[in-house]
């Protein structure tokens, strides 16, 4: 209790909560501390002030809880299927938040000023709304605020002077930076808590004492878990009996099979990319509405079918642990999706940007089509992946059994869908709205499919590790790739002459240069000009920052090495002490 007196009020409350004592004892300690404070310092107003602050904090927390989405459904899914399946739905909810935020700021800062200033879009007279626009995104939508082309480059005179160019640029830049920061923070905290390099899953102690999922509330699921645990324990007992030593020829055979599968899968990925390039090159001249859907159709078909081939290869290969198997599958799928996205972006940046007049809107439409067709294929994939597997597994081939929910494949599809939205924000500011609808419907679809068609996973464990890997994947190839595409577009490519907020400029980034030149007239904002010229535009600054960061990383690395040694020594000390004092 004495050490609690020295802490600040907030730390004290946290320390009281973290005590492993019964409720009565905690209340007693709390009473002693608060009353003692009252007697010792006689700061009655201080006590009331801190208490009202705490109450304020609690009511904010309460209010935030009312906004929580889907709590009941999450509880139901967690209760029946466990935490690893629940992590997919939590990931989906998290991505939905990104899109809601993006939609709100895009709509608020870019679209609403334009709509207030000029409520009627200037559509040419012979274009009217037909139903096909919802699928292709062209036609009527081309002239609305859906795409880059619908925005003007003027300074809107109204209550205040609203510079559309700056607004467009800064909204998107700030959103991307905030996304990046949020991703880095969640990745770092996930690494800190979850990523343990030792493979503890095959450890009996872990299986017995740490792996039971207390949140499962369904009797059948509990029975199934008990069965699985029993099977796993028996397996690990028998593994101890026969640790197989492979002969050299067997090792060579396994190596050959691995090499073959990797070559095949990389070849498939490259082949898909190349075929999409040629398809695009041959077809772009066909601007008729329905035929523009061909390329997204082929892309989504490849995304659906090729991972099934990868799973097939996986069955023929022999892996030393389940973890390695899952990692190999994930890496191959990521390679496939990255190669498809890379080819698409290359085509858009190099060919479309040269050929067409309002090319940003064209790219925006292409992305819109990709998003819509991807959604349709996700629904189809749910149907084939889960419903048909269930039917086949229960009626036709009972040996296969009821399918499990493949968390890895579904999360990768979510990551791919989100990357499309991130690339598309620059070209089509209202694309997040479509994405919000898509994720919303997808949540309910997957939930129904899960409860009707799937059984809980047989092998438990490593859910936290997989979650860390997925967040890391979301950040590293996918978000960074989307950010580089948008940055390349803003920096190197010439905006189109006839449409959009940046017409007439050499590149998008020069908007900032123009603004800084304007600001130099105003004496009160000289500090902004100074920051721009000496910090953002100077190379020495970045060089120095990089050097400092490298030095800090090196220091932290050495500290970690030292700590590892210390842990080894302490562990040895525990053993020594127990030997001396049994």
């Amino acid at each position: 209790v004495k050490e609690f007196v020295a802490l600040s009020t907030r730390d004290r409350i946290r320390a009281i909560r973290d005590l492993a004592m019964s409720f009565e004892e905690k209340k007693h300690i709390r009473w002693v501390l608060t009353d003692k404070q009252l007697n010792l310092y006689c700061y009655t107003c201080n006590k009331l002030h801190s208490q009202s602050l705490r109450r304020c904090g609690y009511s904010i927390r309460s209010a935030r809880q009312t906004l929580e989405l889907w709590q009941g459904i999450m509880k139901e899914i967690g209760g029946k299927f466990g935490t690893s399946v629940l992590s997919y739905f939590l990931f989906l909810k998290w991505l939905l938040m990104f899109n809601i935020f993006s939609f709100l700021i895009n709509f608020g800062f870019i679209t609403i000023p334009l709509l207030v200033y000029d409520p009627s879009p200037n559509i040419p007279p012979n274009v009217s709304f037909r139903g096909l626009e919802i699928l292709t995104g062209a036609g009527y939508f081309n002239y609305t605020v859906m795409y880059y082309g619908g925005y003007s480059n003027e300074t809107l005179i109204g209550l205040v002077d609203y510079n559309m160019q700056l607004a467009y640029f800064f909204t998107i830049a700030v959103y991307m930076v905030l996304c990046g920061i949020a991703l880095i923070f969640s990745m770092a905290s996930s690494f800190k808590e979850n990523y343990v390099l030792a493979d503890t899953v095959s450890n009996s102690a872990w299986q017995l004492l740490c792996s039971w999922d207390f949140s499962i509330t369904n009797e059948r699921a509990v029975r199934q878990r008990k069965n699985n645990l029993r099977v796993q324990l028996k397996e690990s007992l028998s593994e101890r009996a026969q640790r197989e030593l492979l002969t050299l020829s067997e090792k060579l055979k396994h190596f050959g099979v691995h090499l073959g599968s990797w070559l095949l899968s990389t070849g498939l990925a490259v082949g898909c990319g190349a075929s999409i390039y040629y398809l695009y090159a041959a077809n772009w001249s066909l601007l008729q509405e329905a035929e523009t859907l061909l390329v997204p159709f082929v892309v989504s078909l490849m995304n659906l079918v090729v991972p099934l081939f990868y799973s097939l290869f996986n069955k023929f290969e022999h892996y030393s642990s389940l973890g390695r198997q899952i990692y190999a599958l994930v890496v191959r799928n990521v390679l496939l999706k990255m190669s498809i996205l890379a080819v698409l972006c290359y085509y858009w940046m190099n060919v479309v940007a040269e050929k067409f007049s309002c090319w940003e809107s064209m790219v925006g439409q292409a992305l819109y089509r990709l998003v819509i067709v991807d959604f349709l294929f996700l629904m189809l994939g749910s149907f084939f992946g889960e419903f048909l597997s269930n039917v086949i597994g229960t009626r036709l081939l009972p040996r296969l059994g009821v399918p499990e929910f493949d968390v890895a494949r579904n999360v990768l599809e979510l990551i791919y869908a989100q990357t499309l939205a991130w690339i598309g924000i620059y070209f089509s500011p209202l694309l997040p709205a479509i994405q919000i609808l898509k994720f919303f419907i997808l949540f309910y679809l997957k939930k129904v499919s899960l409860t009707q068609n799937c059984q809980p996973p047989r092998r438990t464990g490593r859910a936290a590790q997989m979650q860390t890997i997925f967040i890391a994947l979301l950040f590293f190839p996918f978000f960074v790739g989307a950010l580089s595409i948008v940055a390349y577009t803003a920096w190197r490519l010439t905006p189109s002459e006839q449409c959009g907020p940046f017409r007439g400029l050499n590149n998008t980034f020069s908007v900032v240069g123009v603004w800084i030149d304007d600001l130099q007239e105003i004496p009160a904002s000289q500090w902004v000009v100074w920051i721009y010229q000496n910090v953002i535009r100077s190379e020495i600054f970045y060089f120095l920052i990089t050097l400092i960061i490298i030095v800090i990383i090196y220091i932290f690395w050495q500290v970690t090495q030292g700590r590892k040694q210390l842990i080894g020594q302490l562990r040895q000390q525990i053993v020594n002490v127990s030997v001396l004092h049994p």
Binding site: R17, R30, S204, L209, C210, K226, K234, I574
Partner: protein
């Protein structure tokens, strides 16, 4: 919405919010769940600290707990009398520790108490055998049970005294990142 409840005084609610990880709304909702188990036993007015204990049978029949193989141990660990009969304070404490906001060390120390069937502050072989039987419906043979328990002690016992102390257990938990999400009951 607002401060219009008459079940607790403001000080009581403050004490609950400070000592558990729940917000005001959750505490009131949990009180409703507690009362639903036995409406005739639980009064609607807690301002004069009534001494009401719900017997274990009612607690163990809650949908969140009724299929959990460790429900009896959970109730015993969190109840004041050690028999599983819980007051409202014990009830709130239990779900607070099992909620997702409780830190890992707190959960680890309570998980240790749950697995320690004979309450001697060590998880010995008999405790492990009982845990294993709860988790596998008595379907392993005697030999297999013995081998698994020996393997567990081999792997987790750091100070080589043949049984697991709280520090051994916590050391194992640190290397099991899923523990935070599996030792979690949603209510």
């Amino acid at each position: 919405m607002g401060n219009k409840q008459t079940i607790f005084t403001a000080q009581q609610l403050d004490a609950y919010q400070d000592c558990t990880y729940f917000t005001r709304k959750e505490i009131l909702r949990l009180f409703d769940r507690y009362r639903d188990l036995a409406p005739q036993l639980v009064p609607l007015d807690y301002t004069n600290h009534p001494d009401v204990k719900l017997p274990y049978e009612l607690i163990g029949s809650m949908p969140e707990l009724k299929d959990n193989p460790f429900r009896q141990r959970i109730a015993e660990v969190f109840s004041e009398d050690g028999e599983g009969n819980m007051t409202l304070d014990d009830f709130l404490d239990m779900f607070s520790v099992l909620s997702e906001m409780a830190p890992r060390d707190l959960k680890a120390s309570y998980a240790f108490k749950i697995y320690d069937f004979n309450n001697d502050d060590f998880i010995c072989k008999s405790d492990l055998e009982k845990t294993l039987n709860r988790l596998t419906r008595n379907e392993l043979t005697e030999d297999e049970v013995r081998m698994v328990c020996e393997k567990v002690i081999d792997e987790a016992d750091l100070d080589n005294d043949g049984r697991l102390s709280l520090e051994d257990f916590q050391h194992m938990i640190v290397r099991a990142p899923d523990f935070l999400s599996t030792f979690h009951i949603r209510i």
